[in-house]
């Protein structure tokens, strides 16, 4: 079985399962909403999950490196990073793709040595997961920087008003 063709031919089913791996981490009513309307403005979270997942999967299926998924993965993780999940839960859908593809391949090729043929694929998903850590942390860093800047600006302005700063510090 040629894996690339298999993945491309079955992308709809696999993407649906991969999207579900994210969606199922939400409470039932929230999950139902995110799975519902495809309108990108009334359901931005669901729309981002679905469309970014599909683009990422098709890129990976055609053999692209995980780094090509950076923008789409960032779109998803920027949302996950502010929804109060533990980091492991926020990223849990990434390793889940290995199992989803393994099951699909095993189903289509019963008795075959599916795991061996998936070695390269799994390595790419590992790289995607590592990229996910970087992006998740970058999103969290933005939030922390905002907090830090807020405190810095508050103090800086008070010092500036009290004429306790040197000229170069005022400019900075």
């Amino acid at each position: 079985m040629e894996l690339q063709k298999f993945l491309t031919d079955n992308h709809k089913s696999i993407c649906a399962q991969w999207t579900d791996a994210i969606i199922k981490t939400y409470p039932e009513e929230g999950a139902k909403f995110f799975s519902g309307s495809a309108n990108q403005f009334s359901n931005p979270v669901g729309h981002t999950f679905r469309s970014n997942i599909e683009r990422m999967f098709l890129a990976l299926a055609r053999g692209a490196d995980a780094s090509e998924c950076s923008t789409d993965l960032d779109g998803i993780l920027r949302i996950r990073a502010v929804q109060g999940f533990a980091p492991s839960v926020a990223l849990c859908f990434l390793p889940a793709l290995k199992e989803i593809v393994y099951r699909e391949v095993a189903k289509a090729n019963p008795g075959g040595a599916a795991a061996d043929s998936l070695h390269d694929w799994n390595v790419r998903i590992d790289r995607l997961t590592m990229l996910g850590f970087d992006l998740y942390m970058a999103a969290r860093e933005v939030l922390w920087k905002q907090k830090a800047n807020q405190l810095y600006n508050r103090t800086h302005k008070l010092l500036e008003r009290a004429n306790l700063l040197k000229d170069e510090e005022v400019a900075g």
Binding site: K24, T25, Y26, S42
Partner: protein, 543 residues
């Protein structure tokens, strides 16, 4: 390879799927990042609100008075009697779900208790369970439940996750205003001293010194003077604003955020320049007040009584100074209170008899819409001036800006101010593109920080709630090259910069009158090289 456990097996002991349970059986899990710190008891005490005490939302014991249930029941009974709207909202909801997916906090978080219908149900279920015969007998079968400490904590957690933006109410076929349920919910919590500090302390400050930050008159004056220095550096024109001037025609009141927080400060410089221009060209007589130095009304997020008291200071100051009418700055909640509550709270009788239906002294336009409140929004005022050709404007100074417009919830949904800001904006910028339908005008998405939710500690909540707005901005940024988000609300100007920095970093935030002032050409001014932010004007980059 095949002997290794598969990924799902490795994660088998971790369950990422939340348990399926009826909402009444899922207690509130109070998470850092989603709640604001408890009110400082001194601030609660200062305005005479009951049960001021020190407490922590993460503690098991919230230090409630022994008879807390009785206090809530009496408070609820009193409000059911006093506010017919509230009584109706408790009774008529058929849980059709039209509002369910309209709240920005639900759209961004997926937390079902942020669905407006369910948020209201938190209170409605107690009303049924404790106040209606049907609910008392059938309990849960009739959608009723008892008031327990866990229920009270759930109220607190979720009523302070509602920004009272009223987007849900636009979609309710019965016209239920869920924000009103939140307002009463918060009012009941205030009976037990359970406010948040980002509301309680600004309220106390505003009551004492006239503005949220507690800035005293001399410091307020200093800040404005500081802006005048900057304006003089940029334009060669030094504004000479009046303060507390008795006998002025018009009193100007704006949120103190414009005076103390970027980028609102540039909007404030815009007001100063507009008034100076109008004074020099047409002799307009406007005064600022260092006492009524706050348009925002955080009493609105506390109780009707507190809202009334903070609102009254503006009209007491108008009376003291003897002005004819009030011109209001780019504020959000101030306008909602004035437009929707003030006539009942303080009423026209409260106003000085010297106040008149506002007339623009330069154009002669009578603002009949403000006949009752005697207060005109500055976007209406400036639109009127532009319509009559009274301002000399040069759009080219804003040529590097591609603007989109965020309809601030309260002026948009609370008073129907939709077209005036757009008219002004299009008169001062060359490139303007609206965001898609369903995300603007009456259906505008909240910034995520309204109703007192702009504290540093609940930033994750604000990011989730700000997602639908940012998502629409991202669309017009990517498709049309929009790089500036305009608005007429001080809270927007405080919240949206961080939201943009997170979701669409290429887009900045500004107020309307910053753009007006950049375009405004004073007779005899020096050639400007920078805008009000000190950034090079288009065409001046290499000079």
């Amino acid at each position: 390879m095949s002997d290794l456990p598969r990924p799902e097996a490795l994660f088998a002991n971790i369950d990422y799927t939340p348990p399926k349970a009826d909402w009444m059986d899922v207690p509130a899990d109070i998470k850092p990042g989603r709640y604001c710190y408890a009110a400082n008891p001194e601030s609660v005490k200062y305005v005479g609100l009951p049960n001021a005490h020190k407490w922590n939302p993460l503690d098991e014991d919230w230090g409630l008075p022994e008879n807390w249930q009785e206090i809530i029941f009496n408070g609820l009974r009193e409000r059911l009697h006093k506010f017919r709207s509230f009584k109706i909202f408790m009774d008529i909801c058929v849980r059709c779900g039209a509002c369910a997916d309209k709240c920005h906090f639900f759209i961004g978080s997926g937390d079902p208790k942020n669905m407006p219908v369910l948020r209201a149900e938190l209170l409605r279920s107690v009303y049924r369970g404790e106040f209606t015969t049907f609910g008392k007998i059938l309990g849960r079968f009739a959608g009723g439940r008892k008031l327990t400490a866990a229920v009270l904590k759930e109220w607190w957690y979720y009523f302070f996750q509602c920004s009272e933006c009223r987007r849900c109410s636009v979609f309710c076929p019965y016209g239920i205003d869920t924000a009103e349920v939140t307002i009463i919910g918060r009012e009941l919590l205030n009976l037990l001293g359970l406010n948040i500090d980002w509301i309680a302390t600004p309220v106390a400050n505003c009551y004492r010194t006239g503005n949220h930050l507690g800035i005293q008159p001399h410091a307020f004056f200093d800040m404005i003077d500081f802006f005048c220095d900057d304006i003089e550096d940029i334009t060669g024109i030094r504004p000479e604003p009046n303060f507390n001037q008795k006998g002025a025609d018009i009193l100007f009141i704006t949120p103190s955020g414009d005076v103390f927080a970027d980028p609102g400060t540039y909007t404030c410089m815009g007001y100063l320049m507009l008034f100076e221009y109008l004074k020099r060209e047409y002799g307009l007589s406007v005064t600022w007040s260092t006492y009524a130095s706050e348009g925002g009304n955080f009493g609105f997020f506390t109780s009707h009584e507190t809202m009334k008291r903070l609102n009254s200071k503006m009209y007491m100051e108008a009376d003291r100074l003897g002005v004819k009418w009030i011109l209001g700055g780019e504020c959000g909640h101030m306008w909602r209170v004035i437009h929707q509550y003030m006539d009942t709270l303080n009423g026209p009788d409260f106003q000085s008899s010297r106040m008149e239906t506002p007339v623009n002294p330069i154009t002669g336009t009578v603002f009949k819409n403000a006949a009752s409140t005697k207060m005109v929004h500055i976007a209406e005022f400036t639109a009127d001036l532009i319509k009559h050709g009274k301002l000399n404007l040069n759009k080219k100074r804003n040529a590097n800006i591609h603007l989109t417009w965020h309809d601030s919830c309260n002026p948009a949904r609370g008073m129907g101010l939709l077209d005036e800001p757009r008219f002004v904006a299009k008169s001062v910028v060359e490139k303007f593109t609206d965001m898609p339908e369903g995300t603007i005008r009456e259906q505008t998405f909240c910034c995520g920080g309204g109703a007192g939710l702009n504290a540093g500690e609940n930033d994750e909540l604000r990011m989730m709630g700000g997602l639908p707005r940012a998502n629409a901005v991202k669309y017009v940024h990517e498709k049309y090259g929009v790089n500036m988000l305009g608005c007429v609300c001080a809270i927007d100007r405080a919240v949206l910069p961080n939201s943009m920095a997170y979701w669409v970093p290429e887009v900045s935030v500004c107020g309307l009158h910053e753009l007006v002032a950049n375009a405004l050409v004073f007779p005899g001014e020096k050639e400007r090289e920078t805008d009000l932010r000190g950034e090079d004007l288009p065409g001046m980059e290499d000079e």
